[in-house]
Symmetry: C2
Subunit: 528 residues, 2 copies
């Protein structure tokens, strides 16, 4: 079976694109609003235009040491693996600005060979970048600023469910498995992980763990770090594993140390995940609230009543308007709260009671049930969204998302501060817009997920993007939010992560120094 | 207000004891079964019989460096702080076998002074042992084998709720607060933590975190490490804190690194805890199952239906029999499953539906509702239990509990293996018994909590205890259970923890070496 090729300069597979009719509609709307002209059309260069030097490292020597894993210096592979999919990564690739590429890409077929690779890297002063789905939107992968020559370890061929324990609802899984393939394999054992980040189609279990990812249903099932029972990581100091039990008091937690390590402490090769039965029943509806604040208040009361809807999202007024516009619905103001529960025969009644109670809370707090929105269709729209960016980039439109989390008592203040910061950054320079949704809720607070777009002059996109991103990040940092709730730090957030981590950075760097004394693992990401 | 004194040679406060009528009944029952005689009576020595050298360290010098914290070399304080409350600790104290005591005890009144103390310890090659409730039952505190002279930092005067955020249901709390005082302070803000380990009356927030404690309601609310949003720890490398947000993807999780560190990586001085609204409604009942296995199966189905009862305990046949005997109830065989939910006005209906569904599952799986047991009375019996040990020790009865956790698919195998190991260890030497209960359930597995007693010859208790403990621990370790689900490692479990941690011990020791290069913090516990 031929491997589906991933786009080197955009989101998703090469044989996919954003639905044409939708794309047309959106560009028409934006064209009117932003005043686009033909001069703005600015498509990506093609692969053949990218200049790339032949590798200087002795790749043959490395290949000889590996029995199963495959080393390649193919141009497409080297370009694809030069970065993830942050706005900065893509705009630079599309314009041919990227000058550094990995010397070679190794498709790992045997986890034990990673030790050989790391040794070789240490000996030859070569950096090693682990690569899963390559979908980081914050610069988690970006070889450009790495001083050493780089080789990339692509994990996606380590993609099996090694074993499954139906009775305990757990499965030991290789880290390179992508979302759909993982769920497909688990289904055979009547289990589901139900971790659906927006990158699900491409991103991998290892990548989710490395970046502390959250998914569509995380408000109930938790972030990825809460789904991991044990982990296996290959580091320059050897293999690290922890004992596979539901809970323990035998020392500190190992999976939580590698969750969020972004490839800098070791290469995650497998994990035992805690699964769920496959839900067969859905309960969903939506409520329109007078404003974002009252919708957030309803969400707070629901979650603090110990009710955990897998889906609880809130679109602020602007996001609700855009969403209505695109879907062709009417918009009469207000903020939209989406509510979704899932169950099977066994727990249907209990879940239904939670659903009813949640609806009651929404009504009590001023929500009007709209209910028309078919939440079962979330998948298409949700997974489609990232593809839109490529279309907009063709028209010099800077477009990105960023996210944070804070306590309930600070939520509206942070929301106002970040929204204002983004608006000021955009409107002092050009036209554009910003909207926000709440994507995950906790008893103590919630995450805020901002989307923005702004019209740029040709070839000034990166600068404009950075001005907006910087303003937003300053506002998050000063406003008491975390610099990332589920995208990670990468390179884009590093400056603010250093502020946020200030009282633990010494410790984290100490751990880095211990595990990777030659600093070969993903240098330049979160820890140096 | 005079401080209530804690027993130096037993459980609890000096003005407390196990209810006399119950004690009489139990000793009568055991007397018949074990053949106790007057010769077996073997009470503890009194404090004046303990020989203790005056401190050799220059305590005055240390006191001068501290403005607020109070250094004492009082005999009672030194003896009390020499260890926690493991069986080994108590039997040795009662018999006057303990030869080493801390040189001094410092009641910390200002967290900043801990840095001064750690510096002084490093300079003078003195070990520093953090001390909370002093309730470790696995040797978490035990100065006997520490080579360096020891000073103990008692944290219990750092016991305030520093701030509370009612809207976010969080509170920043000093680590030395004991359970009842914490809940009392939180109640003023209409919040509750609802973490009820059996040591609740004495143990402290910092101790819970250091040992990865679990409480009576943990099946729903999680172990202590899941209740912590941020933490502040003073280490020889400086103060470590993490950013206080509900969730983050900004680097690895810091609280999870100190949870389970047992005082070896730093001294926990405060934490922000995630609380709950105060429940006002209770739903509880009990079911008798034909056997332990079928009761466990019901528990598995309930929790895997995503229903999380705060209370789901199962008494095996032996434990059910003993419990019936002591409470004066009838016992007709079988295994008892206790079920308890709690709610307030807001979520009453949803919780009731969970309760009804759980009952339905129990019935379907062969449980007969007994329902007579008043689960509201759990507190008295639950908190009373540890006091019983002192009474039995007076009669040369070795008595202890030990616990583990494993996946559902391994639960019955592990149960049989550990029970047999304990029975063999006892019956090849003497008379006694063992019983078991399931105390915490997870979607992937459950914990097993064993209680055993055995008649010893006078002055051979420690050896007999160790033979039984060793057999049980070998069985747990070989049987795929964790050596501790919620008591911690301390010194009693160290041998098996080293096996369990084998593939992460290098890393953990590396972290220890980084944070505490002079090895002054609680030497001999979990990491050396």
């Amino acid at each position: 079976m031929e491997k589906r090729k991933v786009k080197w300069n955009g989101w998703g597979y090469e044989d996919e694109e954003y639905p044409k009719d939708k794309a047309k509609k959106i560009t028409e709307i934006l064209s009117g609003f932003l005043g686009l002209s033909k001069d703005d059309f600015s498509p990506s260069i093609t692969l053949d235009k990218i200049k790339i030097e032949p590798p200087k490292l002795n790749i043959e020597e490395l290949q000889k040491k590996l029995k199963n894993s495959q080393v390649t210096s193919d141009k497409y592979e080297r370009v694809l693996h030069s970065s993830g999919k942050s706005y900065k990564n893509l705009i630079r690739l599309r314009k041919g600005k990227v000058k550094k590429f990995p010397e070679a890409v190794i498709y790992i077929k045997d986890k034990r060979e990673i030790e050989t690779i790391l040794e070789w890297c240490e000996k030859n002063k070569v950096a090693c970048v682990p690569y899963g789905g390559g979908t980081s939107v914050v610069g988690g992968v970006d070889v450009e600023d790495i001083e050493k020559p780089v080789i990339t370890c692509d994990l996606t061929e380590l993609n099996r469910v090694i074993s499954a324990d139906e009775k305990s609802l757990t499965a030991k899984v290789e880290a390179g498995v992508r979302g759909p393939h993982l769920e497909e394999q688990l289904r055979k054992f009547r289990m589901a992980l139900r971790h659906y980040p927006q990158s699900f189609m491409l991103s991998t279990l290892g990548g989710w763990i490395a970046s502390r990812s959250a998914g569509h249903f995380s408000s109930r099932y938790g972030k990825i770090e809460e789904m991991i029972q044990s982990i296996e990581v290959i580091t320059p100091k050897g293999v690290i594993r922890n004992f596979d039990v539901p809970a323990t008091a035998c020392g500190p937690d190992i999976p939580h140390l590698f969750a969020g390590s972004e490839g800098t402490l070791g290469i995650i090769v497998s994990a035992t995940v805690k699964c769920h039965r496959i839900p067969t029943k859905k309960f969903s509806t939506s409520f329109v609230f007078p404003d974002f604040q009252s919708a957030c208040e309803a969400a707070r009361i629901i979650i603090q009543s110990e009710i955990n809807p897998p889906l609880l999202r809130i679109l602020d007024e602007r996001e609700f308007m855009i969403s209505s516009l695109v879907s062709g619905g009417t918009f009469n103001g207000g903020s939209l709260l989406l509510l979704g529960f899932e169950a099977d025969e066994e727990n249907e009644k209990a879940v239904e009671a939670e659903f009813e109670k949640s609806k009651e809370i929404c009504q009590k707090l001023g929500g009007k049930e709209e209910g028309k929105r078919k939440l079962d269709d979330w998948k298409n729209e949700y997974f489609e969204q990232p593809y839109l960016r490529d279309i907009l980039m063709d028209f010099c439109i800077v477009v990105d998302t960023l996210e944070t989390a804070t306590n309930w008592s600070n939520l509206m203040k942070l929301y106002d501060k970040v929204k204002s910061a983004i608006e000021n950054a955009i409107f002092s320079r050009t036209l554009g817009g910003v909207s926000c949704r709440v994507t995950h809720v906790y008893t103590s607070g919630a995450s805020l997920y901002f989307s923005f777009f702004a019209k740029s002059k040709k070839d000034e996109e990166e600068e404009l993007w950075w001005e907006i991103k910087k303003s937003a990040s300053d506002a998050i940092s000063e406003g008491g939010g975390t610099i990332s709730h589920h995208h990670g730090v990468g390179r884009d957030h590093k400056k603010w992560a250093e502020i946020e981590l200030k009282d633990s950075l010494t410790l984290l760097k100490g751990i880095k120094e211990f595990l990777d004394p030659h600093k070969i693992l993903n240098p330049g990401a979160i820890f140096d």
